[in-house]
Point group: C2
Chain length 269, copies 2
């Protein structure tokens, strides 16, 4: 591990449950020698990446980080970050791919790309908000959301967008359990009778679900076999998008996704 | 300059106007040798502090910074960051000190501290929003605000909170010019007839004014001489608070503040 990596690695020990860390605790956490750790902490502090509490002498994350985030957010906002990733995945899957972010109780589309290589295509409207109980994106967000949001949505009203929308709270609850176990959601005809889609969740810095990455196609092309063949690449894309947004995929889900094999790898083997 | 500082220093070259930087441009900007710069860039990228564009090979700020900001904001939000600074300044000045942040067209109090060492004191209500044209805090924010906000407020209505509130737009405009030249604002009786106050502006990451740091006292104690003796410490406090919030004081104002001498230093000399 290089000097720079060793120093930056110290910043990674801070979390919501460990907001400030003293020199002794850093030595314990890293197993490194005290003089080196101290030298790194001082240099990080001198550059504003750490602040030292004047009373306790413990370190906390510093203001330089806030300034850098502000620069990154103003120059590479969510949409700019997701654009290349969504475009690449749509080229790879030969279907429309879209990313959407949770806003209160609805999903707001952020970016979509469609290579349009088929005779029929989904008409996607980036201005159309998506209900959480009726699309693959919404269902996967709901499945991985905290209890408060899930219960609020389950309490209704649950509008029937088509005759295939799940509007019974208990049926929906059972469906969400299946989706959590699968690590992604499939939905056909719940929002538009002619559209099938498959979605994986995106997570923020605190590990909370913040949106979804989804592939959508006319129902005729959305066969189980074909959707199955997309699984590994969709999960890998959601993992990459989560990291690009500064987030973290919860460890158990990351393990589940890693276990999904890409059918192309099987062919190659 | 140590290795860690040299690497972190590279991150500081990114700004709103320079969102991505290639290896060659980094070499030009820093005057350092290409091999060293490249090694630092790779190590920053490996730790998520930079991302490399797959097409242009240029670097931009990475997602690790977003995660760290999220941890800092959730554990040391604005109020927690300002608390020790406001408390210390109030102890030093022997008067009530408060910090407030701009929210649309009003100032929202964030934290106040009063050592209560006098027979009379200002009763401060942290729930009371402050109009921009009637308090020292509001006036200093208005003086350093962008044209859009200033013109919107000057367009009125300008409520008379006391008979000393400036409600004439042209008189107010002239007052704001004086305040900008002074680098801080004094106001007596414009919001409450019995209160005198003096405020300096706080700035955000983009250099825009985001709030104010203010000392307030019963008018009887707010003599010109006494307020004058507070100037240097108030400006120094506002500079420190700005840095703590991840912001930057505009260079010309920083120079103006640095030129204000602390009367205690003169005594010492």
């Amino acid at each position: 591990m290089g000097t720079i990596t060793k120093a930056l690695d110290l910043l990674g020990y801070f979390s919501r449950t460990r907001p400030s860390i003293g020199l002794g605790e850093f030595v314990r956490l890293t197993g490194r020698d005290k003089a080196t750790v101290h030298r790194h902490l001082v240099e990080l502090e001198q550059n504003g990446f750490l602040e030292q509490d004047s009373v306790t002498r413990a370190y906390r994350l510093g203001p330089a980080i806030l300034r850098l985030t502000s620069v990154r957010e103003s120059t590479f906002p969510t949409r700019a970050v997701l654009r290349p990733l969504v475009t690449e995945l749509s080229e790879d899957l030969d279907e429309l791919v879209h990313a959407s972010m949770l806003q209160g109780r609805i999903l707001s589309p952020i970016f979509h790309a469609d290579p349009k290589r088929h005779g029929t295509q989904v008409s996607f409207d980036e201005a159309e908000m998506q209900p959480l109980h009726a699309t693959a994106s919404g269902l996967v967000v709901l499945a991985f959301a905290d209890d408060a949001l899930r219960e609020a949505v389950l309490a209704g009203p649950l509008a029937a967008h088509t005759d295939r929308t799940i509007t019974d709270p208990e049926a929906l609850r059972a469906r969400l359990v299946e989706i959590r176990a699968a690590g992604l959601a499939r939905a056909a005809g719940g929002f538009d009778t002619e559209v099938a889609s498959q979605a994986a969740p995106l997570f923020g810095a605190s590990g909370a679900v913040i949106g979804a990455l989804s592939v959508a196609m006319p129902s005729g092309r959305g066969t189980d076999d074909r959707l199955e063949s997309f699984r590994a690449r969709l999960c890998a894309g959601a993992a990459r998008a989560t990291v690009s947004l500064g987030g973290t995929v919860p460890p158990d889900l990351a393990a589940l996704w890693a276990a999904v094999s890409d059918p192309r790898d099987t062919k190659r083997a």
